[in-house]
Point group: C2
Chain length 434, copies 2
Amino acid sequence: MINIPSTAQKRIVIIGSGFGGLELAKRLRKSNYQVVIIDKNNYHQFQPLFYQVATSGLEPSSISFPLRKMFRDYDNIHVRVTEVESVDTQKKQIYTTIGELDYDYLVIAIGADTNFFGNENIQDNAIPMKSVSEALYIRNSIFEDFERSVTTPDYDERQGLIDIVIVGGGPTGVELAGALADMKNFILHKDYPELDTKEIDIYLLQGGDCLLKGMSEKASAAALKYLKKLGVDVRLNTRVTDYDGEFVSVKGGDKIRADKVIWAAGICGNKLEGLPENTLTYGRRLKVNRFNQVEGFTDVFAIGDVSYMEEEKYPQGHPQVAQVAIQQAKRLAKNFSCLVKEKSFEPFSYRDLGSMATIGRNLAVVDLPRFKFQGFFAWVVWLFVHLLALIGTKNKIFVFLNWLWNYLTYDQSLRLIIRPFIKKNKTKHKNEAT
Amino acid sequence: MINIPSTAQKRIVIIGSGFGGLELAKRLRKSNYQVVIIDKNNYHQFQPLFYQVATSGLEPSSISFPLRKMFRDYDNIHVRVTEVESVDTQKKQIYTTIGELDYDYLVIAIGADTNFFGNENIQDNAIPMKSVSEALYIRNSIFEDFERSVTTPDYDERQGLIDIVIVGGGPTGVELAGALADMKNFILHKDYPELDTKEIDIYLLQGGDCLLKGMSEKASAAALKYLKKLGVDVRLNTRVTDYDGEFVSVKGGDKIRADKVIWAAGICGNKLEGLPENTLTYGRRLKVNRFNQVEGFTDVFAIGDVSYMEEEKYPQGHPQVAQVAIQQAKRLAKNFSCLVKEKSFEPFSYRDLGSMATIGRNLAVVDLPRFKFQGFFAWVVWLFVHLLALIGTKNKIFVFLNWLWNYLTYDQSLRLIIRPFIKKNKTKHKNEAT
C-alpha cells in the first residue's frame, strides 16, 4: 500500500506529471484538497524540446524538472514515483507497482504515446521520441552510426548508417529534420573529415499533402521551403508501409535504406486498465464531458492528450497539444474549488493561443490568432515562448546560455555517446524503457 | 581493417584518451607523425569530478569532451572509437572490434579500472565509479532507492535503501562521502519530508589507519575532522571482507546493511592482451623504463596509471594520479621529436605539484610542495585548479555556473532518475557497460 497520511481533506490523485497533471497539481497547492501526483519518472519532461536533446543541443536535465523539488514546500501535495497499472472505479482505488491507493477524485493525465498503427515491424525497428530517454537513445544511435560509418568501406552499408529517415510531418518531425540538417551543414563535416557529409541524406516522409497539418497554409508552405533550403529530402503524400530495420518501404513500392527511422507519425492515448471499454474513442482517448469527467463518472476525470472532448468549435475534439492540457487543468482546478464552495462546475472551452514550430537556425513559423509570420522574427518569438514555458529558473538560464553558445559557435556541443552502465544482477535497478 | 590514410609519416597509435593519452595527442598535433588516438568512448572524461555527477551536482556532458571536436583542425590526428582487444608486437598491429591497425610506435595509455581484489561477491554487488556512466548509475540508484524507501514501512529494509556505504578512504571515497553528506544535510529533508533524514547513514570504510593516504598527516587529519563534522560515519582500520548485496561484512565480524556499496578501494591496470607476462607487475601495471618504454620493447610505450616506472625518488613507482600521466605524456612527446631530430631520449622524472581533495562546502585540503593548508581557502584553490584543468571553454563556463548556482542555492539540482531507453532487438545499439 502507498502510505499517504490520511487527513480530513478529500484526496485527489493525479496520474501523470505532463503539462496537464503538473499544472493541475500546481493550482491545487494551496487548495483544501490532499493531492497525490504519481508519475513513473521523478521529473517533469518538457516535450517540445526533446528534438534538441536528440540532436545534442541540450542536456536532458535542462528540460526536466524534479517533481519533489517543485512541491517540497506544500504539505498537501505528495509525490510518488511508480507505474499505475489499473484502477477500480467501484472501490475508488488505483493499483501501482508499489501498492494500491484510495482516491476521492481521480484525474487521469497520462498523455499519449507513439502510435505505430499496429505495424509490429515498424514498432520493433523504428525509434520513437516521446521521452528524454528515447531522445538520448536517438542521440547515441546517430553518433554510434557515424563512428561506424567511418570504418565502413561499402557504400550502401555506409548510406544505411549515415542517412536518417523521419516519418511524420508534424511539429516533431519538422523540428527534428531541421535540427539534423543544421547539424549536417554546420558541424559534421568538421567532426568527420573522413566522411563526405554530402552523402548524408535526411528524409522527412509525410503521408499527407502538407507539413504542419493544423497550422496555416502559409506556415506549412514556409516550413517546406525552409526544410528544402536546408537540404532535407521532404516527401509529401508518402505513406510508410513497412520498415524491417534496413529498408523503409513506402506506398508505391519505393524503398529507402536507413538503419535509423525516427517515428513521429502519430500518437495514441496511454492505457489505464480498469475503465469500461465504452469510455475509449478514436486514438485510444477517453471520452470526457465539458467538465473533463470521463463518460459515466462524476469522480474520474481525464485531461490533456489522453482525453477527448467535443465542443461547438471543436466537433472532432481538441488538438492534442500542451495548451489544451494546461487550460483544461486550470479549468478543472477552478471546478474543484467550486466543489468546495458547493458551487456548480463551469464547462471548459478552449482558447487557441496559436501554434509555432522552429525549422532551424533563424527559421520558424508562428500562427497567432491575429496574425501569422515566418522567418527570423518568428524564430525569436519561438525561443522566448519556449524559454518562458520551461520550468525552473536554472533550466531557463542554462537553456538560454546553451542556445546562445550554440548560436554563436554554430555548434551543438553535446555529441557524446554516453552508454548506460548496467549491473546485470541488480534487477531492482533494471534499466527499463521509460 | 581500420582505414587510416597511409602517409610518409611514421604512425603513432595511442590507446586511451585519459589524461595521459589526450595530453600526448595534443602535444603531437603539429608534429611530423601521423597520430591515431583510440578510445572506446568518443569523449575524454574528467575523472576528478565523477563524484559530482554521482551526487547530481554536474551533468556528464559538463565533464566530458568530444574527441573529434578537439582534433578536428589537425590533419595528422585521427580519432577512432572502438575497443582494443589485443596487440601483436611482432607484426606491429593492434586488433580492435572494428578491425586491425598497423603502428610504428604504440603508446598504451589505457589507465586503470576498479580493483575488487578477486572477490566476486563484491564485484557482482558493489558499484564502481570509474566512468561517467557508472557515476550516473550511482545517481540513479541513490534516488531510486530513496523513492522506494518512502513506501517501505519495514525499518531494516528502509535502512538498507537509504544508507550508503563507501569503501576506500582515498580522494574518491572522501570526496564522494563529503558530497553525499552535504546532500543529506541541505537537500534531502526538503525533498523527502516523508523520510526522517537523520536515519540516513553514510559510511566511509577505510582499511588503513588514515584517510587520503599519500597526503600529509595534517590533510588526512583535517579530512577526518571535516567528514565527522558533516556526519559521515568514518571507520578506519575497517577492512571489508564480503558484500552479498544486502550486508557488508567487515573484518572482525561486523555487518552493515546497505543496498548500495560504492567501491573505491583500489585500482588495477586495464588489460591489453598480447604483451609478454613479464611486462606486468604489481597492480597489473606495465613495467616501463625512464623513457616509458615497456620492458623489452623500444617501440611500445606505456604512460599513466597503467605504467609502472621506478626512479630514485620513487623506488615503489609513481602514484597513480593525473599529474604523472600528464607529465609522462609531455616528456614522451618531447622524446618523439627527439627521435625525428635523431637526438637521444631524455629520461622522465616526476615533479610533484602537490595534491588536493575537497570534502564539502567550503572544506578542502591542499598539500603543496612548499606549504599545506585546509579549509575555505583550500576549497577555493581546489575549485580553481579543477576549473582550469577542465577541457573546453564551454565546460569551464557551465561547470562554474553550476557550482555557483549550487553554492548559492545549497542545492545540487540534477536529482533526475533518467533511465536508459533500450531497444531490445537492436543489438548493434546494445547498451554495453562502459
